[in-house]
């Protein structure tokens, strides 16, 4: 009897433990005035105003509309206004004003804030943009990530081609993003044979153009920014079904490997990109 009771208690305790904790309710999709208020005078805004603005935007990014963004016109417009305003902030100025105001040096973590915020915002914009957002195309082309740009589709095709082929006049964000690199990334999404944006001839042509971004002598011009560009090109080409692009990548990888040896992150990415193209063609 005692054994039965003990077993029942044990079973009950396991049952209780197995019961998942109630999941907190998802925040409502709310756009508040706080979200944009700091951008009128970023350097003059107080710590409390910045906190309120960040919380309003960060809450929206994990809210009920985290995958779609707000649907109401004015609220959706506010999200793209947030993108434009945030990417234009001169944080050197903001932090200098803060140092003057508080008389204290800025903690490193606080300086990291804009980097994390801009990353989160960019991912949010990537998630929510649809072809319906064409009225915001200027902001998206200028400050959006490649995925967001690509989602605007055929309506921005010629603009994206131009943007990809022209050197950017300026950079934005604390991570110094380039509209040109994002346009290249966008074209990568269009190289996917399942994408309706480019026709077969255009896909072939752009795969060929992007392959020219891989330096023929396999030499990196610096340790940071050139690898970033090459990585973008390889990721873009990996979505292609161009056998010529696959061949170009494999040839380039050999040259690169002769220079830098096997197994660094770019060499691995090149291998993966070529293999993805091959696998795609094998399926067809």
């Amino acid at each position: 009897m005692r054994v039965v009771i003990l077993s029942s208690l044990l079973a009950l305790s396991f049952a209780v433990r197995a019961e998942p904790a109630p999941r907190p309710k998802v925040k409502p999709c709310t756009v508040t005035a706080d979200m944009l208020s700091v951008y009128r005078d970023p350097a003059g805004a107080s710590d409390q105003q910045w906190r309120a603005a960040r919380d309003a935007a960060l809450d929206l990014m994990v809210s009920e509309c985290r995958h779609t963004g707000p649907r109401r016109g004015s609220e959706r417009a506010a999200v793209f206004a947030l993108l434009e305003n945030e990417m234009r902030v001169d944080y050197a100025n903001v932090f200098a004003a803060r140092r003057k105001r508080t008389g204290k040096p800025l903690p490193e973590s606080a300086a990291e804030g804009p980097m994390y915020f801009q990353r989160d915002l960019s991912e949010f914009i990537d998630r929510i943009v649809t072809a319906e957002d064409i009225q915001y195309k200027d902001v998206i082309l200028r400050y959006g990530g490649g995925l967001a740009i690509s989602k605007l589709g055929k309506a921005v095709k010629s603009s994206v081609f131009r943007q990809a082929a022209e050197p950017a006049r300026s950079f934005y964000g604390v991570e110094m993003r380039s509209p040109q690199v994002e346009a290249i990334r966008a074209i990568g999404y269009w190289l996917d044979p399942g994408s309706p944006v480019l026709n077969a001839a255009e896909r072939k042509e752009w795969a060929q153009i992007l392959a020219t971004l891989l330096p023929s002598d396999g030499i990196l011009l610096d340790a940071e920014h050139h690898p970033r560009l090459i990585r973008t090109a390889l990721e873009a080409l990996s979505r292609s079904d161009s056998a010529a692009a696959e061949e170009s990548i494999r040839t380039w990888r050999n040259v690169y490997q002769n220079n830098y040896g096997r197994g660094d992150s770019i060499e691995i990415l090149a291998q993966e990109a070529a293999d993805k193209i091959k696998a795609r063609n094998r399926k067809r």
Partner: protein, 216 residues
């Protein structure tokens, strides 16, 4: 043949144009003059180009009056894989760089966190080059991130709709106390426009930081 002109940021100081003209050649001009492509390597497997990449990174430290790391401190993904942190890949820690400093203290410390917490906390950022770090306006140019001795953990809770979680921050802090690692004060993390995260330095001692408040 197509011509593509790509502009990239050069070491945070000047705008540089990478010109790609078909398969033939490229030039890199900007800053104080024109940089032409270096002479070709002497033969297969030469490491002279890898040395050049590390030189380029070391120059960033020198330019910013930071202590210049030795060649041996830099690793690429193959070198890292020979002695990795058990639960983190090179890609997760190297900030998109081909070479990075991922110190033994960092790798050991990350593994220790996993052991104590019995889960793998998400690293938002570990190594950053001095150039990247100084573009985070106002941040310490020679910070622990640039020597691969610090990491930022995300405190977004996947079981709470990815909302920020003080429970996670405080758990991480309890682990840091046990392991005796430095933690940046919560007040400093969220000062001004800061975004909630957990900053730990694996080469400094626990400092009884101001704890997380304001989130579940």
């Amino acid at each position: 043949m197509y011509t593509m002109v790509v502009t990239e940021w050069w070491d945070g100081k000047s705008t540089t144009h990478f010109q790609f003209t078909g398969w033939a050649s490229y030039t890199c001009s900007g800053g104080s003059g024109t940089v032409t492509s270096p002479p070709p390597p002497q033969g297969p497997g030469t490491s002279s180009w890898s040395v050049r990449l590390v030189d380029n990174l070391q120059q960033q430290y020198e330019d910013r009056d930071c202590e210049v790391p030795t060649d041996q401190m830099f690793v690429n993904s193959t070198m890292y894989d020979a002695s990795p942190a058990a639960n983190y890949t090179f890609q997760q820690l190297a900030g998109g760089n081909v070479y990075a400093i991922l110190s033994e203290e960092l790798k050991f410390g990350l593994d220790q966190f996993v052991n104590v917490l019995d889960r793998v906390p998400v690293v938002s950022s570990a190594y950053r080059t001095p150039s990247t770090n100084s573009s985070l306006v106002g941040s310490a140019t020679c910070s622990s991130h640039t020597y691969g001795r610090a990491a930022d953990f995300s405190i977004r809770d996947p079981f709470a709709n990815d909302d920020f979680s003080c429970t996670m921050w405080n758990e991480l802090n309890a682990a840091a106390q046990l392991l005796n690692y430095f933690v940046e004060d919560w007040d400093d993390v969220i000062a001004g426009g800061g975004v909630p995260h957990f900053h730990v330095d694996f080469t400094r001692q626990w400092n009884n930081p101001v704890p997380c408040t304001g989130y579940p």
